[in-house]
Amino acid sequence: MKKSPVSMTINGQPVEELVEPRTLLIHFLREQLNLTGAHIGCETSHCGACTIDLDGKSVKSCTIFTLQAEGAHIRTIEGMAAADGTLHALQEAFREKHGLQCGYCTPGMILRAWRLLQENPDPTDAEIRFGIAGNLCRCTGYQNIVAAIKHAAILMAGAQQKEAAE
């Protein structure tokens, strides 16, 4: 099948590639761009391991054709830490609060949690649970993930206050 050109911005970098129409965004990211942070858990839109941020919204990259993302601004787990390797507050909080065990769900969890905190910077436990309902974790029982997201909310609010003071 003839390939079509597609262009988008991923973690701030412009990308231009050729893809088959049936190439799913998750396969494009992982196999064509070697951005293997977003995971494939179910490939049927259920588990959330493939969650990325697309034009300001959390979406499942296994349920989007690459061509649909033409012109989009995308953020993946690779775009969370600073260029010098300093972890993002959410990554720090997941480590600190043991928000991961095997780590398979973590890239999707963190991207989803990041968008959740943009929309609601001070969520309650129940709001966090509702917000991450589309991200399945088979290890942690979610308890520590909720704690990590709450902790990150505090870290991020603190960082913002510091920035405002400076």
Binding site: R22, S58, T63, F65, L67, Q68, I128, A133, G134
Partner: protein, 350 residues
């Protein structure tokens, strides 16, 4: 997944023209269609991407109090629109009770209405299914039928329609605006869906090339804003399709009901409007006894299609509970903030 031609439709006219060609299918949010394509259950030769059709992503509040929802409005944007949630709380509640944040962000309102059944045999290419292959048989009959229909089913298909959103839409007389090769037409959502009968492969009245451009709720629907609820019973407290659900609305003057609305989800291949139940509440008190009577009428014609007799009694009880909740004024209940609908989820779980 099969190979296909991909085409980004620039306007409705082109979309309709392309959608008409053999093997063409419209692609909206893709959250249902792409999964079906992954399983080789749907094999389009041409995908007509309608995501960038101009003007179809708007929510227009009409001067008379109704609302016109563009086909491409995302489920999350509609549910979180403050005015929409205030005027049509049961519809917002239904949207937020479905799927997950990621899926609601991608899913469009037209795609939601058009989503295919979740019958497990329909999703299993190795099973016989009349819906996928007319005349092949129906493996759900005599199989795992716990979640299948109790109303309107036929010997050829016992599946249910999975949309939550469509249930309050039918209760409040939503109209589907369609554009197609033969021009524009409006169809009540209730009449838009077809019951299985002898032709379970035919699911809606849409002809080839016909495109949903908008869904309208009439002004009358907003009169229920103070007393409208959507209640969903499911196997888990989140992220599951309905076992049974109910959209209920009441207009109460003094201590009397002047108008009632009721539609059931998870019971048939379309949202089931219970008009006899509505009629019996007219002029009555909003009390448990009255609601119990309505619930008997709502399920009067129900019969099990397999291991699902329990759904009949479950639906009756849900009707009573939905009306009881509806009778309590709910104007301040829904918070429009993203990820802030805790009261709602707790309410549903109680």
């Amino acid at each position: 997944m099969n190979q296909f031609e991909y085409e980004l439709a620039p306007n409705v006219e082109n979309a309709v023209a392309s959608g008409r060609s053999n093997g063409a299918v419209f692609l909206a949010g893709g959250t249902n269609l792409i999964d079906l394509m992954k399983g080789n259950l749907v094999r389009p030769t041409r995908l007509v991407d309608i995501n960038r059709l101009p003007g179809l992503d708007r929510i227009e509040f009409l001067p008379d109090g109704g609302v016109r929802i563009g086909a491409l409005v995302r489920n999350s944007d509609l549910a979180h629109d403050p005015k929409f949630a205030r005027d049509f709380p049961a519809v917002a509640e239904a949207l937020l009770s479905g799927a997950s944040p990621q899926l609601r962000n991608a899913a469009t309102v037209a795609g939601n209405v058009m989503q295919r059944t979740r019958c497990p045999y329909f999703y299993d290419a190795a099973s016989a299914c009349n819906k996928r292959e007319p005349g092949a048989g129906c493996e759900a009959r005599g199989g795992h039928s716990r979640l299948q229909a109790i109303l309107g089913w036929s010997a050829h298909c016992i599946a249910t329609h999975p949309s939550d959103f469509s249930v309050p839409l039918v209760a409040f007389d939503a109209v589907v605006e369609i554009d197609g090769p033969q021009g524009r037409r409006d169809v009540a959502l209730e009449d838009f869906y077809l019951l299985p009968g002898n032709t379970p492969e035919r699911e809606t009245i849409l002809a080839p090339g016909e495109l949903i451009v908008a869904i309208r709720l009439p002004a009358q629907a907003a009169l229920f804003a103070g007393h409208a609820r959507y209640l969903k019973i499911r196997d888990r407290t989140s992220y599951a399709f309905a076992v049974v659900s109910a959209a209920a609305g009441l207009r109460i003057e003094g201590d009397r009901i002047v108008e009632a609305r009721l539609a059931l989800g998870g019971v048939a291949l379309k949202p089931w409007r219970a008009r006899a139940a509505e009629a019996c509440l007219m002029g009555r008190r909003a009390g448990r006894e009255e609601f119990a009577e309505a619930s008997m009428l709502a399920l009067q014609e129900a019969r099990p299609s397999g291991e699902n007799e329990f759904k009949i009694e479950l639906a009756r009880r849900l009707v009573v509970r939905a009306f009881e909740r509806t009778a309590i004024d709910n104007t301040a209940r829904l918070s429009p903030l993203p990820a802030s609908i805790v009261n709602l989820t707790e309410e549903i779980q109680r």
